[in-house]
Structures are given as C-alpha cells and as structure tokens.
Amino acid sequence: MASISTPFDPQAPAAEKRRLLLIMGPPTLALLLFFMLPLGVMALYTFQSGTLGGGMTWSLDTYRRFWQDSALHRLLWRSALVSLQTSLWCIVLAYPIAYYLVFRAGERRMTLLTLIIIPAWTSYLLRILAWKLILGTEGLLNTFLLWVGWIERPSPILLFSQTAVIVTLVYVWVPFVALPIFAALERMDKRLLEAAADLGSPPWHSFLRITLPLSLPGVVAGFLSVFIPTLGEYVTPLLVGGVNGIMYGNLIQDQFVRALNWPLGSLMSLVMLLALLPMFLLFRRSDEVLQP
C-alpha cells in the first residue's frame, strides 16, 4: 500500500506529487470508468428482477432464482470441467513444444516459435470454423476414417459435442500456453543441468528435479491464461458444441440477448468472477513458492 499512498504523502514535494498524478491519473481514470463502473452497474442489476423493458423492480428474486436453479450450477460445474480439461490438454501438448524449442531447436527456434504464433493472427472465428470443416460429416476426419475403413458412413458425433469444443479450444489456446512455458524454460540457467549431471543425475532425473520445478511458474501462468478465458467461452460451443457442448457462457449470453433477463445474466457473470478468484490466489501463491 505504501507505493499507492505516495502521491498523498504530505512530505512529498508538490512537483513530485503532480508528476505522479500525471502518470497515474489517466490509467486510474480509465480503469474506474471502463472497468469498475460497469462492474458496479452489473452488481446493481443483480438486485433487480423482471425483464428489460417489461418493468424492473428492486428485489432479491434473482438471487433466489439462481440459488434454486440446480441446472445452472451443474452447467457452471460442467463448464469448469471443460475449461480444466482444455487447460490440461494444452499443457500436455504445449510443454513438449516449448521444451523442444528451448533445448533442441537450436538456431531454428525463433523461426519455429513464429510459425506457432502466426495462426493466432488469423481471426478467432475463422480458426473455429476451420475445425467445423475438419470435424463435420463432410469433413476431413470423416473422409479419412471412411477411406481407411474404420467407419462405414460419416459420423455426425464428431462435431456438436463437448469433445469437439475441447478439441477446438485446445487448438486455439496451445500457443498461449507454449509461450509462458517457453519463457520459463528459456530463463532457466542451463548450467544447472550440467551441475545436476555432474552430481550423477541421469537426464530424466534432472528433468524431474530441476527443469520441471523451475518451469512450473510458466506452466501455472499457461494454465490460468487458458482456464480463465475459456470458462466464459460461448462462441466455440455455439459453433461446434451443439446441444451437448453448451457452456455456462452461452446461458449468460442467452439471458442478455434472448431472455432479456439482465439481472440473472449479471448475477451469473458475477458468480463466475467469484469462482475464478481462488485461481488468482493460486497464481500469486505459486509465484511466491516457485520463484527463487
């Protein structure tokens, strides 16, 4: 808190105070205006009930309704599981990529890293639609499976399922997990591995005792950078999820756009935000424990 109170320190010279206000002022203002204020408005909405345009009244009905609707809770839980699976698969796939880039790719590493990032420059929607083409009944995967003779007629179950959502999300997010792991491995002092080998440690043992623990901050950062945004995901389930792939985010969108029940939509959003708070604590804690 000390640094925040500096501008109001009575002993600070006036010029110093002005300078700090000039630097801190605009971002603080923007944060208040475009982030805290809307969040407050949203919180206010939760204490109302009724539909937009159909008369709103102050009440706790929305809370009661959310509390009693177990389908909503189940969906939030299921969405969390989808996000969790997505994040874990991303780590499983991204770790070897990052490891290869840092330890094996040599002079090609920057080229390869760029190649991994370039797809992320194309439209998010386009990348999801590409998976629709791959997974659809007329798609690449079905055609291939037909060709090798594993199935006899195109299977529609590949698309419009929770698996399709996870596959697509994993594809979209892998580069964003590979980057922090890459950074963590890159930052690691490689001489530590020589020291470990020198002390008799075979390569796999060095990986488990040195490389993996030292790259964990990157892994945790990667995990959170996928888990947090995918929990509120609604575009991907909409396009490739079908009825079974629906996520919590889709229902929030429904409340705002179709049911026009902004109070419930606001409450659902706030609940999700609160559900993510422990994640931030996990991140801070891991930083403290793992940072030497």
């Binding site: 002079e107 002092d189 001489r191 530590l192 020589e194 020291a195 470990a196 080998a197 020198d198 002390l199 008799g200 440690s201 075979p202 390569p203 043992h205 005792r209 040195i210 623990p213 030292l214 793992l290 030497p292």
Partner: protein
C-alpha cells in the same frame, strides 16, 4: 596394480564446428597431453580463450573430445556421459539449484545414489562443517552471500567423495580480501580431504599460491607444466615468461658457452646468463631476467663484474619497493625492482647506473 595417474589426457583435441555458414571451426584444445598424480593440486592457467575451461569440461564430460583419450585412474572415460563419471565440479557461477535449500543442494548427489536418509543427513552435516557453515542448512541459495554460496558449491561437490574434483575459477566472483582468504582455505581443505584437484584460473598469483603443479595454456596448447617455482624461475618459452609476472626481455648474441653458462653480447657490453643447452657462438637469443633480480648500482660502487650500462629514466615509489625504468645504451628499456632497505638510498632520473644480476637469475631463451 594401483593406477599411476589420477587423470591422464592423451593427445586430446576439441574442435568446435563452425556456427552458421560464415564462421570458421575453432580448435579450442589442441593435442593436449597431461598426467596428473593422485592427490595433486593441479592448475590450468591461461588467459580467457586459451582452452583451459574446455579442457576442464572435457574431463567433466560436458564436452567430448574430437580426438584423443581421457583416462581416470587408468580407466578410459573418453565418451562416458558426465553423470556416470566419479568426478564433481565446482562451477564458476556455483550453479546452485535455486528452488532447493542448502541441505537439499548438498544432498542432491547422495539422493541420486539412493543413500538412506540417515546417512545422507549425516554426510550433509559433515560437509557443512567441513566448509565451516554448519547453521545454514535450511536457507535458500539466494539468501546467501557470494562467499557462502561458494562454500555450499564446494560442499555439494565434496559430499560425494569424488575421485577427482574440478574447479572452474571458483574464486573469481569474490572480492579481493575474501579471495585471498579462500585461497589458503581451499588449499588446506584439499590437503585435508586428499582429493585430486584440477583448478582452472586466469589469475597467476592464485595459481602460484595454491598449486602443486601448473600447466600454462595458450591457444589450446600447453606451453609448460611445472611446479610454481620452476614456472616462475625457469619459464620454458617467451610466452610463459611474459604471462607469469613481469619480465625483461633483452636481445643478445652468444659470445661463448661453457658449463651451462653463456656469455652474451647485449649492445656493446657482455653479461652472463644461464643456458642449459650448448649454444653456438653468434646465435641470436633472448635474455630473460625478472625485475626483482636486477641490481642497479652507481658506477663508482660497481665491483668490476660484467654489467650493462644505462640511464635511470623513471622512478616509481611503491612502498616496499621502488620500481626503476632504465634505458640501456642501445635504447632498450629495462625494469628493475629494488627493495627499499636502508642502503644506498634511491637513484634519481638521469643518473648513469650499472645493471647486473647473478648469473643463475638470468636465462637464455632460444627462439
């Protein structure tokens, strides 16, 4: 039969391939042969880029030689991976594991060997006592000073009771006072544990103070291997003479050779110098003499010995010594270092002096 050498290098070379298309391949180590006796404190001394660290890395197993053989106690280990060699290294930057406590760092090698916990704890404790840091077992390396980290790195290597310990400029990151104290401590420690040490440094003073033998390296080759006094007093060639300490090089011509002594003509005068090999009269050679072995006397006090004549050019007072630069008759500059004892008193710039030395303190280098 007990092996004669702790370590033996037989004509070991290391060539690094060219980086990208432009670069040229570099020969870091060029056909080096060394024999290091058990229990010896052996130093590889040289400027940066001379191949000393590469030699150490070849012995540790981090690099594999392009040609030649490395033997540890008579066993070939040339291509053995580092984790299988009974050799431990103290790294220049210590390379302590930042996510482990001091005790975990030291126990690392013992954990790999799957030693029982009780035995492990006992040896970690002993190692910490040995490096005189008994109370920091639970600290993280980042909480320690450079000197303490250095001791932990030492303990981490010593605890494994290796056949051979490699030390890569372990003192270079410490400040001068600590470095000088650690020299003595390291030397005593080595005598105490009796492990063969191979020590890499660019600091000649460090090498002279600690080593049983020194290998002076230059351009991937070993220029001379000898004990510190021989390296200093009987340098094998111009490079060694120049690298270790300060030296005067004087061009001369052989006037006579008899009984391991040569009379040399330097300018218009002649002086005596030691020369082990017979030299033909008229051969152009270089005379080498250390500044502190050079005496300067006023002409009236010269006792008729063979001498060179010159003029005092510069006088620098250094406390214990005075450093004189003398210009000889033929224009060659010579440095003399004189102890400031109660004697004749200082010489002054512009004075004419006679320059002489004991025959055995000046040596002839053939080039």
């Amino acid at each position: 039969m007990a092996p004669e050498y702790a370590v033996e290098l037989r004509s070991v070379s290391k060539v690094f391939p060219a980086r990208r298309q432009k670069g040229r391949e570099t020969t870091a180590v060029n056909a080096i042969s060394l024999q290091i006796a058990p229990g010896e404190f052996f130093t590889l001394l040289g400027a940066s880029g001379c191949g000393k660290t590469t030699t150490l890395r070849l012995i540790a197993g981090f690099e594999h030689p392009s040609s030649g053989e490395i033997l540890l106690q008579g066993m070939p280990i040339t291509n053995m991976p580092p984790h299988k060699r009974p050799v431990n290294t103290v790294f220049q930057n210590y390379a302590l594991f930042p996510h482990m406590s001091v005790a975990q760092n030291i126990a690392f090698g013992l954990t790999v060997q799957r030693l029982p916990k009780a035995e492990r704890d006992k040896r970690v404790h002993e190692a910490l006592e040995l490096v005189r840091l008994p109370d920091i077992a639970n600290a993280r390396p980042s909480e320690l000073s450079g000197g303490m980290q250095q001791r932990v790195a030492l303990a981490r290597a010593l605890v494994n009771r290796p056949k051979l310990m490699l030390l890569d400029e372990p003192l270079s990151a410490l400040d001068l006072k600590l470095r000088q104290a650690m020299r003595l401590e390291l030397k005593n420690l080595q005598a105490q544990v009796g492990i063969t040490f191979i020590y890499v440094t660019h600091d000649q003073e460090e090498a002279l103070a600690m080593s049983d033998r020194i290998a002076v390296m230059n351009g991937g080759r070993v220029e001379q291997v000898a004990d510190p006094a021989s390296i200093y007093n009987r340098p094998a060639n111009r490079f060694v003479a120049d690298f270790i300490g300060e030296t005067n090089f004087l061009p001369g011509k052989v006037a006579a050779w008899e009984n391991h002594r040569a009379r040399l003509a330097v300018g218009r005068q002649t002086v005596w110098a030691t020369a082990d090999e017979p030299l033909p009269v008229g051969r152009a050679v270089t005379l080498v003499v250390r500044p502190e072995k050079v005496f300067l006397t006023r002409p009236e006090k010269s006792n008729g010995r063979l001498h060179l004549q010159g003029t005092v050019n510069q006088v620098v007072y250094l406390g214990t010594d005075t450093r004189y630069t003398v210009r000889l008759e033929d224009g060659v500059a010579l440095v003399a270092l004189a102890r400031n004892l109660n004697g004749d008193g200082p010489l002054y710039p512009g004075e004419t002096v006679h320059v002489h030395w004991h025959d055995y303190d000046a040596r002839v280098l053939q080039e």
